[in-house]
Amino acid sequence: MKSLWAVALLLSCWRADASTAPKISADPPEVSNQTSALLTCNMTGSSLPSKGSYWTHNGQVLDDTKSSNTGLTMSLNLEKITHSTSGKYECVFMTEPEAKATIEVKTLPHVVAYKHSEHGNEKDKGVLVCVSHGYPLPTDWSWAKDGDSPMPIFNGTSEKYEIKSTPNKTTLTINDLNLKDDIGDYICSGTSEVGTTFDKIHLRVRSRLAALWPFLGIVAEVIILVTIIFIYEKRRKPDEITDDDDSGSAPLKSNSNANHKDKNVRQRNSN
């Protein structure tokens, strides 16, 4: 009997709390694929005082939305919704405890190629990367080779193609590049609940030997230079030898007192 009373008491307390907890109605509850929006939050059904309000975007407080207005309504105007302004917005009323509601602003995924022009070497592997920003991030990525009829590329069907995808990045690795077949445009598409966007990457395949000719040219130039330098020195050597020894520094001179090698002019300082 007593336990029943206790439970009933607890339940009523809890219900009382719930009934005085502020309700926040957010309007609109969700923004999808719009160019601009006005987010509004209304706090109803609460007698708790509010010290102010602010908005957060993806967890970060928006400093210029902080207001000490104790009103029950707050709004945020998004003039231009792009992938950078999309995300989760929270309106927070500074009550005890804080009351908040979330509005999701969704846009098309912003798919961008890391580099629009890629280069690979013949028989080597080529790596094409696409990244995505915004909210929500794509759930599906797909690759296709562009052409008269775009051919989709699937992961795992052959050793040639490997696709690794995470929500914000996808990588297509093409093994054993072929000079003729693999040159061209590749399309990466990211699909989320809102829609699909894509970007194009142009792949160039270079012959392995392409760099070899300039390299050999430079090596030849180096060899020629070194040869010229040595020949020039041999030509001047007979005149130079006496000068060299003559102009040696003090230790040099004294050393060769003991050592033979430099025949000439030590006499001046020899004892």
Binding site: H119, V127, A210, I218, N255
Partner: protein, 476 residues
């Protein structure tokens, strides 16, 4: 007698202080300030640009590596860290080999290794291949090239040393300007493998630079070989230690100077790594921040050349000039965050230009002070050891400033600490003997005799330098 006159009274110094002059004349009597010396300056210009200019522009490849090897930017950045560390670590080795054999062979071998490292890197299939090739092999090559070439050029000049070095080191800034777009072009035309192959070929151009070094000063090798009897482990060790000039580590002036330069290095690189990030932090756009860096780089080049020219005018002692440039650079580093926090772009620009000028100015002078402390004979080994010891500072400085930024939330603390390290370096250098005198002290007596054969040499030296007619004796 000199103290009665001011430091700028050069003519009086000439007359009343024949001793140092005679010593210096004997040191450089080979090719006093001209002729072949300038050809070597050109060779140093080219090889420095192929070593440091190349190192600084490798960032272009890192973007490719991150993508191709699917590794983090942090792992890729270790490639250049390894290369730089190897260059500094192997510097004493390069110096020792020059003492043992001759500089020409060492530099040419270094050039071959540097090129080989890059050529092998073009065939890499794993990331650690790049560490080994671009990092260790090329780094070893660079270590064998830089210190010997600098020492050789310095040996060919006395009065114009700083100008020669300043002109040669200006290549670092100039080549960074030129290499960045060039490397980008190479990567686009040939993909990174082809571009690395061609870079390897370009690096081979260090070999003809080394070939320009005339074989001279073989005295050290034969002297040492003769003085050591047999090849017992003890004598081998003694020989190696003399090639490496390890005895320098027990001499206070050298150790003091090295310590000062090491402290300098802790703070020196901080602006290079953090200035752009700090400018962005303070609210300037990407282009504004990048432009500030470029401007600092340009004034760096100017600073090197102007400081080189000015130092050789002889109005002030080199050590004083070095202290002045270092202190100024430290002050400007400390002012950098304050100027950008005030929101004024022009203030940031002005301070950055001044900082760039001073930091370039001090690099011209740093190496030239070494022979004044240890003498021209031991300069080679001294430079090698200096490079090795100061490398530790670089390893300390950047992580420290990054740590300070993480802890305090902005870059103000790291810049102030960096600037204070430079000033600390200056204070350390102020404890050098004869710091406050107006004239350079005479360079220390040539290598103390390891064996009796050279005792006679010493008394001869003293006899020669103290006699008034020593000038004519040495001016061959």
């Amino acid at each position: 007698m000199e103290e009665r006159h001011t430091c700028t009274d050069k003519s009086v110094l000439d007359m009343t202080n024949p001793k140092p002059k005679a010593e210096s004349q004997s040191d450089e009597a080979e090719d006093p300030d001209g002729g072949w010396g300038w050809v070597l300056v050109g060779a140093l210009f080219v090889s420095t640009s192929l070593v440091f200019g190349l190192m600084r522009s490798l960032g272009i490849f890192f973007v490719e590596f991150v993508q191709y090897f699917d590794e983090s930017a942090h792992a890729i950045s270790w490639i250049s860290s390894t290369g730089l560390a190897a260059q500094q670590f192997f510097s004493p080795l390069g110096a020792a080999l020059c003492n043992a054999y001759n500089a020409r062979v060492v530099v040419m071998t270094g050039g071959l290794l540097a090129g080989l490292g890059l050529i092998l890197a073009s065939q890499a299939t794993r990331l650690y291949h790049l560490y080994l090739t671009m990092g260790v092999i090329s780094g070893l090559g660079w270590g064998l090239v830089f210190t010997p070439m600098v020492a050789t050029v310095m040996a060919h000049f006395t009065r114009r040393r700083t100008l020669a070095l300043g002109l040669a080191f200006s290549s670092i800034g100039l080549s960074s300007f030129a290499f960045n777009p060039l490397f980008q072009l190479l990567v686009e035309k040939y993909a990174w493998r082809g571009a690395l192959l061609i870079l390897g070929g370009l690096s081979l151009n260090i070999v003809p630079c080394g070939a320009l070094i005339r074989p001279r000063r073989r005295s050290k090798a034969p002297a040492k070989v003769d003085s050591e009897t047999g090849s017992s482990p003890v004598s081998v060790l003694r020989r190696i230690s003399s090639y490496l000039e390890l005895s320098l580590l027990s001499e206070r002036p050298y150790v003091t100077y090295t310590l000062g330069i090491t402290l300098l290095n802790v703070g020196y690189f901080v602006p290079y790594f953090h200035l752009v990030a700090h400018s962005r932090h303070a609210g300037f756009s990407e282009y504004q921040s990048a432009f500030v860096m470029s401007a600092a780089g340009a004034s760096d080049i100017l600073g090197r050349i102007v400081s080189g020219w000015f130092s050789d005018l002889g109005h002030f002692r080199l050590i004083h000039l070095l202290s002045a440039w270092t202190t100024l650079a430290g002050v400007f580093i400390m002012l950098l965050p304050l100027s950008s926090l005030s929101g004024s772009y022009s203030a940031l620009m002005v301070i950055s230009l001044l900082y760039g000028f001073c930091s370039g100015a001090l690099t011209s002078v740093v190496f030239v002070v070494v022979p004044l402390i240890v003498g021209v004979e031991r300069m080679m080994g001294a430079l090698g050891l200096l490079q090795l010891i100061e490398s530790g500072a670089g390893l300390l400085g950047t992580p420290l400033s990054g740590f300070l930024k993480d802890v305090t939330g902005n870059y103000v603390a790291s810049f102030i600490v960096a600037g204070s390290f430079l000033i600390l370096g200056t204070l350390t250098m102020a404890t050098l003997p004869h710091y406050f005198s107006c004239t350079d002290p005479p360079p220390p007596p040539q290598r103390s005799s390891l064996d009796d054969k050279h005792n006679g040499l010493h008394s001869e030296l003293e006899h020669m330098t103290s006699s008034p007619s020593s000038d004519t004796n040495h001016r061959v």
